[in-house]
C-alpha cells in the first residue's frame, strides 16, 4: 500500500502478552478463544488481512478474564506461546500448547494490526486536517480523516 503523508496506515505491531491462567475448579483457563490452524479453512477467518493466512487468531476475549487483563485483544494473531511456534500448527495443537496443565503462565508473542497515529503528529497543521485516502482493491475511497 502506498502512503500519503499524514495518512494513518495499518501497522503490524508485535506485542508480548503475559497471561496468568485462572484456576476454575480443575481447569486452568485463559479467557479467550482461538481460531485458525493449518488444518482449517483460512478464507473464513474474519480477522486476517491475507485470506490464505493459516495462523492462529484470537476470536473472542472474555470480559474480565486473564487474557483481557493481560492486554490481549480480539483479532490478534498468535505467533508464539512460551517459545513454541504457532504459525504452522493445527488447530488442536494450538489449543494444546495453550492449555498445558503444567504451565500457569503463558507468554504470547502476538501480532496486532493497529492504526499508526504518530505520523499525524509530526505533520504541519495544514495537511493534518486533509482528507485521508485508504486505497483498497476496489479502487480508492474517501474516508474522513481524524480531526
Amino acid at each position: 500500500m502506498f502512503l500519503w503523508p499524514g495518512q494513518p496506515f495499518l501497522l503490524s505491531v508485535q506485542q508480548r502478552v503475559e497471561i496468568h491462567k485462572l484456576r476454575q475448579g480443575e481447569n486452568l483457563i485463559l479467557g479467550f478463544s482461538i481460531g485458525g490452524g493449518i488444518d482449517q479453512d483460512p478464507s473464513q477467518n474474519p480477522f486476517s488481512e491475507d485470506k490464505t493466512d493459516k495462523g492462529i487468531y484470537v476470536t473472542r476475549v472474555s470480559e474480565g478474564g486473564p487474557a483481557e487483563i493481560a492486554g490481549l485483544q480480539i483479532g490478534d494473531k498468535i505467533m508464539q506461546v512460551n517459545g513454541w511456534d504457532m504459525t504452522m500448527v493445527t488447530h488442536d495443537q494450538a489449543r494444546k500448547r495453550l492449555t498445558k496443565r503444567s504451565e500457569e503462565v503463558v507468554r504470547l508473542l502476538v501480532t496486532r494490526q493497529s492504526l499508526d497515529t504518530t505520523s499525524m503528529l509530526c505533520l504541519p497543521p495544514i495537511l493534518a486536517s486533509a482528507h485521508c485516502w485508504v486505497p483498497n482493491s476496489e479502487g480508492q475511497e474517501r474516508i474522513p480523516g481524524p480531526a
Binding site: 478463544s33 485458525g36 488444518d39 482449517q40 479453512d41 473472542r60 493445527t90 492449555t99
Partner: protein, 564 residues
C-alpha cells in the same frame, strides 16, 4: 561404532574354574552329598545350562534382528536363572554346613514353628500404559521407531519371563497375554516385576555381529563381571536390590535395558484388576527409553493350598442343629473355609452334595473337650459361628483322642493360614491355567507407507488422468452414503503434511489400492464455492489401519474456534 559402557559382560573366562564346570555339564559347589531338594535344584541348573548353550548357538545362527532379540532374551533369562540357582545352592550348602557343625539334632527337637501353607500365585492381564508425546511423531519422520520389550517376574528362586512384544508409537499400551504362574509361594512372597526393552533398529552399524557375540558370550568373562558373578553368589538368590537380569554384553547384538521395576506383595493380591506404580529406571537419553506412563495394571491372585485342597478328613459324629437332636455319622472333609460333612467317604469323589456344611472363618470359635459322661464318643469338638445376632453351634464327636487331636491340629493350621494369607482366604480366587506359549511371531516390519508404495508408471498415468478428469468434470455431487466410512476427522494430529492435497472424489477411484497422491505446494486446490460447509469425503483409504500419519483429505472447510 559401539561403545563399551560400564555394564559388565556376561561371559565365562577361558580356562576358569567356572568354565570347566560348565563344560562338564554340571556345577557343584561342594563335595558333600546333596539332600533331595538340592538334586532337584541341580537338575534345574543343568537344564538351564543346556538351554543357554542352545540359545548361544541360535544367536550365532540368526540373521534377522527380531530373531536375535528373541535369542538374546532367552540367553539372558537362562543366565539369570543359572546365577539364581547357583546362589540358592550355595545358600543351602552353607545352611547345611552350619547345621552340621552346630548343635546335634535330637529326637525331641525344639517345637517346630508353625509355617503357613504354600500357595499358587498367578499374575495375568499385564498392561503397561504408554504416554506418547507430540514430539514422537515429529522425531522419526517416515520411519517407525520400534522397541522389543518383555517382562521378567521373580519370586524367590523362580524366574519367569513373558513373551517378547514389539512396541511402536501406534500402541497405547504394552499388553502381555501371558498368565504367569508361580507354584510354591508363601504368603510373605515378593514378586519382583521388571520391564526390559531394546531397540529393534541397530544401534550403530553392527551388522554381522551375532556370530562374534555368540563366541564371546560362551568363552570369556571380564574381571568386573567375574566379581559380579561372585557377588551374586554370595547374596541370597533373588535379592531385591539388584536387577534380576544380568547386564548384556556390549559387543554388537541387541542390548536390553531395564526400563522399570516394581515389587508386589500379598497386599496387592485381589480378585480383580489393580494398578500399581512402576519405578522408572532408565533416563530419557538411553536409546531404549520408552515413554511409560508410570504404572502397571494387572490381576494378581493367590490360591493358598488350604483353600483348594482338603486339609483333613475323617469320620465324625455330628449333632444336627434343631429337632431331632440325633447324632449322625458323617465323613467330614476340611477344605478351605468349610467343613463338608458327607454321608459316606465315597461321596466326596462322586461329587455329591454334602449333607451339610459348616463354615469356618476367622471369626469361628472352636472348642475341644472330653466329656466323661457321653456314651461311646467322649471326644467332642464344638464349632460356633456368629450370623448377625445369632450364634450357631455345631457339636461334633471324634472317634478317638488321636483323631480329636489331629482335627484340632488341622483347625489350628487353618486358622494360622487364614491369618497369614488374609484376603486370599475369604473366597477362592480363580486361576486360569496358562495357555501354552505361542511361538514368537515374526511380525512383518511395519514401515511407513513410503516404503510400501511401489511406483508403477501405469498407475501414475491412470491416477493423473483421473485427477484431471475430476478437475474438469462436474461439480461435486453428494457423495454416496457408504463413503462416510472413510471420512477422516478434520483435525488429525501427527505429521500431517499440509502440502498433500488430494482431489475431492466425485466417484471412487478405480485403482486397486487407494494410494494417496502428494502434490507440490504450488498445486491449486479445486475451487469450492465459498461458504460451502458441506463435508466432502476425503479420498477413501482402503488400507485404513495405515492411514495414521497420512494426510489425504481434501482442503479444510471448517474454521473452528476453541475456548482456552
Amino acid at each position: 561404532m559401539f561403545s563399551r559402557n560400564h555394564r559388565s559382560r556376561v561371559t565365562v573366562a577361558r580356562g576358569s574354574a567356572l568354565e570347566m564346570e560348565f563344560k562338564r555339564g554340571r556345577f557343584r559347589l561342594s563335595l558333600l552329598c546333596d539332600p533331595p531338594e538340592d538334586t532337584e535344584l541341580q537338575r534345574k541348573l543343568d537344564h538351564e545350562i543346556r538351554m543357554r548353550e542352545g540359545a548361544c548357538k541360535l544367536l550365532a545362527a540368526c540373521s534377522q534382528r527380531e530373531q536375535a532379540l528373541e535369542a538374546t532374551k532367552s540367553l539372558l533369562v537362562c543366565n539369570s536363572r543359572i546365577l539364581n540357582y547357583m546362589g540358592e545352592l550355595q545358600r543351602r550348602k552353607e545352611a547345611q554346613v552350619l547345621k552340621k557343625t552346630g548343635r546335634r539334632p535330637s529326637d525331641s527337637g525344639p517345637p517346630t514353628e508353625r509355617s503357613p501353607c504354600r500357595g499358587q500365585i498367578c499374575i495375568s492381564d499385564l498392561r503397561i500404559p504408554l504416554m506418547w508425546k507430540d514430539t514422537e511423531y515429529f522425531k522419526n519422520k517416515g520411519d517407525l521407531h520400534r522397541w522389543a520389550v518383555f517382562l521378567l517376574l521373580q519370586i524367590g528362586e523362580h524366574i519367569q519371563d513373558t513373551e517378547m512384544i514389539l512396541v511402536d508409537r501406534t500402541l497405547t499400551d504394552i499388553s502381555f497375554q501371558n498368565n504367569v504362574l508361580f507354584a510354591e509361594a508363601g504368603p510373605d512372597f515378593e514378586l519382583r516385576l521388571e520391564l526390559y526393552g531394546a531397540c529393534v533398529e541397530e544401534e550403530g552399524a553392527l551388522a554381522g555381529a551375532p556370530k562374534r557375540l555368540a563366541t564371546k558370550l560362551s568363552s570369556s568373562l571380564g574381571r568386573s563381571s567375574g566379581r559380579r558373578v561372585r557377588a551374586s553368589l554370595e547374596t541370597a538368590g533373588g535379592s531385591g536390590s539388584s536387577p534380576i537380569l544380568l547386564p548384556t554384553p556390549a559387543v554388537g547384538g541387541p542390548r536390553y535395558h531395564l526400563l522399570a521395576h516394581t515389587t508386589l506383595t500379598l497386599a496387592a493380591v485381589q480378585d480383580g484388576f489393580r494398578t500399581h506404580d512402576l519405578t522408572l529406571a532408565t533416563p530419557e537419553e538411553n536409546p531404549a527409553w520408552l515413554p511409560l506412563y508410570g504404572s502397571v495394571c494387572c490381576r494378581l491372585v493367590a490360591q493358598p493350598l488350604c483353600m483348594i485342597q482338603p486339609t483333613a478328613s475323617g469320620t465324625l459324629r455330628v449333632q444336627q442343629a434343631g429337632e431331632p437332636r440325633d447324632w449322625v455319622q458323617v465323613h467330614g472333609v476340611l477344605k478351605g473355609t468349610n467343613l463338608f460333612c458327607y454321608r459316606q467317604p465315597e461321596d466326596t469323589d462322586a461329587g455329591d452334595e454334602p449333607l451339610f456344611t459348616i463354615a469356618i472363618n476367622k471369626e469361628t470359635q472352636v472348642r475341644a473337650g472330653e466329656l466323661d459322661q457321653a456314651a461311646g464318643w467322649p471326644f467332642t469338638l464344638s464349632i460356633s459361628n456368629r450370623y448377625g445376632e445369632e450364634e450357631v453351634t455345631h457339636a461334633l464327636q471324634a472317634e478317638s483322642r488321636g483323631a480329636l487331636q489331629s482335627w484340632m491340629e488341622a483347625l489350628w493350621q487353618l486358622f494360622f493360614d487364614m491369618s497369614q494369607w488374609k484376603q486370599c482366604c475369604d473366597e477362592i480366587m480363580k486361576i486360569e491355567t496358562p495357555a501354552p506359549r505361542k511361538p514368537p511371531q515374526v511380525l512383518a516390519k511395519q514401515g511407513s507407507l513410503y516404503h510400501e508404495m511401489a511406483i508403477e508408471p501405469l498407475d501414475d498415468i491412470a491416477a493423473v488422468t483421473d485427477i484431471l478428469a475430476q478437475r474438469e468434470g462436474a461439480r461435486l455431487e453428494t457423495p454416496p452414503p457408504w463413503l462416510a466410512v472413510f471420512t477422516d476427522q478434520p483435525a488429525l494430529p501427527g505429521p500431517c503434511s499440509p502440502a498433500s492435497v488430494a482431489p475431492a472424489p466425485a466417484r471412487i477411484h478405480s485403482l486397486p489400492w487407494g494410494r494417496p497422491r502428494t502434490f507440490s505446494l504450488d498445486a491449486v486446490p479445486p475451487d469450492h464455492s465459498p461458504g460451502a460447509s458441506r463435508l466432502v469425503a476425503p479420498l477413501p483409504l482402503q488400507r485404513s489401519p495405515r492411514s495414521r500419519g497420512l494426510c489425504s483429505k481434501g482442503p479444510p472447510h471448517t474454521w473452528l474456534q476453541s475456548p482456552v
